[in-house]
Symmetry: C2
Subunit: 636 residues, 2 copies
């Protein structure tokens, strides 16, 4: 059977050389991975998995911020290892590799004879393994270790951790399932599902795929596993802090789910796993559930930045159209998770609905989580700040730094998708990819100044002439986009545009060149009238980038600015701005405090005076002088 699934390129198959992304990947390589390792070490995470440490209670290992050991710590090490693997594929770093080897060594010695591998239940609560899947992140930790093991093996060829996690996965497969004596459980925090699909691809062992499918299929069934599990612990299932199993998307079987609910990161990881299984199996009911959930998210519950999950209380979703800006939680990991989900939805077919959103989340709500130098982070990504929201060095739950780090460092995997006789170009990122298509190695080279400019040159260099379909995303935000082939502009009749991708099927030869021209008008986006916070406001967007107003660029307090609906907005590249980016500038008016004379309320409106509005890309905010920020600007 031919492979129709669009799979990401193999790790290392894409070399990025890009005006926008190369510096950001460098900041992860020189900044994020090192500071994250150091902070994990300071926090006591590495000691926590060390079998040689026996002399003090592990609960008090934490070295910084008085943080005590956490059940999810192994996952942070898994993500550290994964990020390190991706980074090592960018450039050798023997010192980093030695650090990771030392961690792998500890995991190896910590592993129990039966393959079990979780530091919390080995050292903190021995004898309690598999007793609270709902809350304890046990299989979630396993998933991140699996992803880390695969990335580190791909980068270094070292199989030690891969062998360790395979033994662990085999224990998990023996423990969970529908067979006699097996537990019918699944993790409260999805993650292992998508990791097992990757492990299947890495090892070719179908049993890992079957285990992933079991976890997906079992989720949310009645009688409910979490009820039984709680009772077995002597706990009252009804006394759960989060109330409804919606929190972990286990309120009903996944094929019946139609609303994105609960903890946003859990949702994104679960839906990613569902999309993986749907793509691999052709399961129409599962694919339909994914499509329904997608429509619900993008139609009612997504910030314009691609962030999601407005509430800190459940780190997740609330009600339709409930998208407050200033208090938006919009966790970095959730937007990263949307990139994961979208990339897997693209496995089914090239479809702009998914490609556009993957790009939106990547360039805005996810990337905002990372400072310019890669060493400071946002956990929550509000769309408005009065000047009191800033990037931090460390967080009690340090999940976001390695999540955005591993995404950026492995970006090449999201740029393309390859099937047997099709290559899709999902993102516009300079560099070179080597893909196997129709049994032939094809080199694809992109040259572009995207996202600052909208022209993209794609050169196709197959080893030998070969027929396949090149599917190039035509972003929805560029209705006047055009495509040229070898210097000749293609008219609509010359190509098929399907699902928002230009589908170019031909026999490709060396140096064939496809050029895209994506005019980047500045858009004023409006929100649905039920998004109360955005009423009377516009968000500025150019290309894939959402813009924001930051105090440091504006003489007028940003909340006082009013943008006329017809005012022209200039977009100019400023080489001196944060390494070079396109700024927006427009004539505006500003509410004046003249005549208020110390009063707070009065019957007459404020006067207005002319002002200039200046905006920068949202992802780049809070990299300069601290101050207020606003995405949705009032519009006259």
């Amino acid at each position: 059977m031919s492979q129709t699934i669009l799979r990401p390129p193999a790790m290392g198959a894409v070399r990025i050389d890009d005006v926008f992304w190369s510096p950001r990947m460098a900041s992860v390589r020189t900044g994020t991975v090192g500071v994250f390792y150091e902070r994990c070490r300071e926090a006591g995470m590495i000691d926590h998995i060390d079998p040689d440490i026996k002399d003090k209670p592990r609960r008090q290992l934490a070295g910084i911020h008085g943080m005590s050991a956490q059940r999810f710590w192994d996952s942070d090490l898994g993500k550290l290892i994964e990020m390190a693997g991706h980074v090592l594929l960018l450039a050798p770093d023997p010192a980093l590799e030695a650090k990771i080897d030392a961690i792998v060594d500890k995991f190896g010695r910590m592993q129990q004879p039966d393959g079990y591998l979780n530091s919390w239940f080995i050292y903190q609560e021995p004898g309690k393994r598999w007793t609270n899947l709902r809350d304890d992140h046990e299989l979630y930790c396993a998933g991140h270790l699996i992803e880390g093991a695969i990335a580190y093996w791909r980068a270094t060829g070292k199989r030690a951790l891969l062998d360790i996690v395979c033994r662990y996965a085999d224990l998990i497969a023996a423990t969970f399932g529908t067979g006699p004596g097996q537990k019918r459980g699944y993790c409260g925090h999805p993650e292992i599902e998508l990791a097992l699909v990757e492990l299947y691809h890495a090892t070719g062992e179908k049993r890992y795929f079957e285990l992933a499918r079991y976890f997906i299929d079992e989720r949310g069934r009645q009688p409910h596993y979490y009820d039984a599990e709680a009772r077995a612990r002597g706990a009252d299932p009804a006394a759960w802090h989060f109330g409804s199993y919606e929190y972990c998307q286990a309120h009903k079987p996944v094929r019946e789910q139609d609303k994105v609910v609960g903890h946003a990161v859990r949702a994104m990881y679960l839906y990613s796993g569902m999309a993986d299984i749907a793509a691999e199996t052709g399961d129409a009911a599962l694919a339909a559930a994914c499509a329904r959930l997608w429509a619900d998210l993008v139609g009612k519950r997504l910030y314009v930045t691609g962030g999601m999950g407005p509430s800190a209380a459940n780190e997740g979703f609330t009600a339709d159209y409930d998208l407050p800006n200033r208090t938006a939680y919009a966790e970095t990991c959730a937007a990263v998770g949307l990139v994961f989900w979208a990339s897997r939805m693209l496995g089914l077919a090239p479809d702009r609905r998914y490609g556009d959103l993957m790009e939106l989340a990547l360039y805005n709500g996810a990337l905002s989580g990372l400072s310019r130098d890669g060493t400071l982070f946002f956990y929550d990504n509000p769309l408005e700040s009065r000047g009191d929201h800033h990037r931090w060095k460390w967080h009690r739950c340090p999940c976001c730094p390695p999540n955005i780090g591993r995404l950026v460092a492995s970006l090449g995997r999201y740029v393309y998708g390859a099937a047997d006789d099709r290559v899709a170009v999902h993102l516009f990122v300079g560099g070179e990819a080597r893909l196997a298509v129709a049994g032939t190695e094809v080199r694809i080279t992109q040259r572009t100044r995207y996202p600052w400019e909208g022209s993209v040159s794609i050169t196709i260099d197959p080893e030998r002439p070969v027929e396949f379909e090149l599917a190039v995303r035509m972003p929805g935000w560029s209705p006047n986009a055009s495509v040229s082939l070898n210097g000749r502009k293609l008219l609509r009749g010359d190509m098929v545009i399907d699902g928002g991708y230009a589908r170019l099927r031909r026999r490709w030869s060396k140096r064939d060149r496809v050029e895209l021209d994506l005019p980047m008008a500045v858009e004023r986006l409006r929100a649905h009238p039920d998004v109360a916070e955005d009423a009377g406001r516009v968000a500025l967007k150019r290309g894939p980038l959402i813009y924001c107003l930051e105090s440091v660029d504006n003489e007028t307090p940003v909340h006082r600015l009013l943008l006329d609906a017809r005012a022209p907005i200039a977009a100019n590249y400023d080489a001196a701005l944060l390494g070079g980016m396109v700024r927006l500038e427009a004539g505006a008016s500003a509410e004046s405090e003249a005549g208020w004379n110390g009063s707070l309320y009065r019957t007459g409106p404020s006067g207005q005076s002319p002002a200039t509005l200046r905006a920068i890309p949202y992802f780049a905010w809070d990299n300069r002088a601290p101050g207020a920020m606003e995405v949705w600007v009032r519009s006259g």
Copy 2:
């Protein structure tokens, strides 16, 4: 020396008979006081002070909601007793009186030989009294017991509790002060200061006044008492959860304070005590501090409802102009506290700055805390809700029900102020007062349908003709207000208007009649341009009442409504609406979801269709079908 301070009428000197307030006082009498007693009892508060209960740990007394005993429980009993006292002045209630007598009996038997009286430190942490004034509410509890004792004594003539609290106050006076061996402490939660001033008035014992003055004078001095106190406990002063002593307004001496900061209720109670002392002593520096703090509050930190304190984190103030609507904390107790503070600022002189705000907080941000039947409560009073904010039966910290209850039940005390040769009419409330002015008993009778209508008739009946000044507030919201005397309209030249009060000095005889006509136009209030949340919006106000849009009255979701800046707004009395009130209605437009087709963002604005906007008084919301609510409506 003649008394120039405008003091409230003696308890019981004003009998309210008012279209607006009588039903509300009845709801406190028949609803609030009974349910509050019952819930205190269920919670275990009464057992907690019972010396006979020895057989189970008091920490687990709580009978409802799994609530454990709280350090501040004695204060809730104090407020219950105070509310009961005021209610007993409205009508006899032997059953209620018996319940309070039983509580008083327990307090009497709980009191220690040296006079000490705090159930937490007698039963829960014996030996730890006076070791953490900053956090433990110890003197705060004493203050509320004092206020309760005074009200109960005034209502019933029973001195038992008054004698108990006097002994306790004597112990406190011996313990705290600047003398040798005395502690130079003061309470983290102000309250005892204003209570001691009342105790001085009740008993004539100047030493209670001096103790109040000591607490005011000592607050915030360096070296800081709370630092020393923490070190004495072996605690690190810098490790305090709330960080800065601004939280309890002890960051600097009170005469140097110029910003309203920290916990809002503490602030209001402190400033009330400061105003009391300033009025009694003529302390200009203290009066100036009060005036500065007042200007800061009303100029930068007050909701349009008279609520304040936007943040749940500190239950208090944040930054200038930070007045979010949906997440407003705006605790009922804080607005009640503003009524207390304003009434004390009026002690210095009749001044509309204070009278108008007292009325605003009373009719809006305070009264909103009480349901129509007096049995359900708001703790926080947001100015916007998506339908998820509702009145509750009970709260972990049940401070609000007795606070709004005691205020409403004792409303007469806020209507008038009396000095030796002056009577001020601060509020327009039907009923009859008997005041001693210039050595003569004067009966003052108000007749009005205020706040629904703006005409007020005030009849003056002195025992015998007597000269004094009648100062009648001319509300700032009614610029065309007029005053008539015995049927003759007074022109500006016929009377002095000073500080916004019409000052009528004459020899008053029986049946002299002053009539006010206060035209009540519907105002569209705008907020200062730095209140970002209110930009482009108006709040509707008629007379003293702020209005709001509630789902139950509007076919259109309230957040979609847009009120044209020039649209006429009709105000009509609706006898069927919640016992009768004036509704507002206006033609408006509504953003339409036509053409959105499931999308959340797009470049074109929404269409608009005609709609009707209907508003009711803010205080009355959430008394019918639950739904969304909005005070600040978008204005075209």
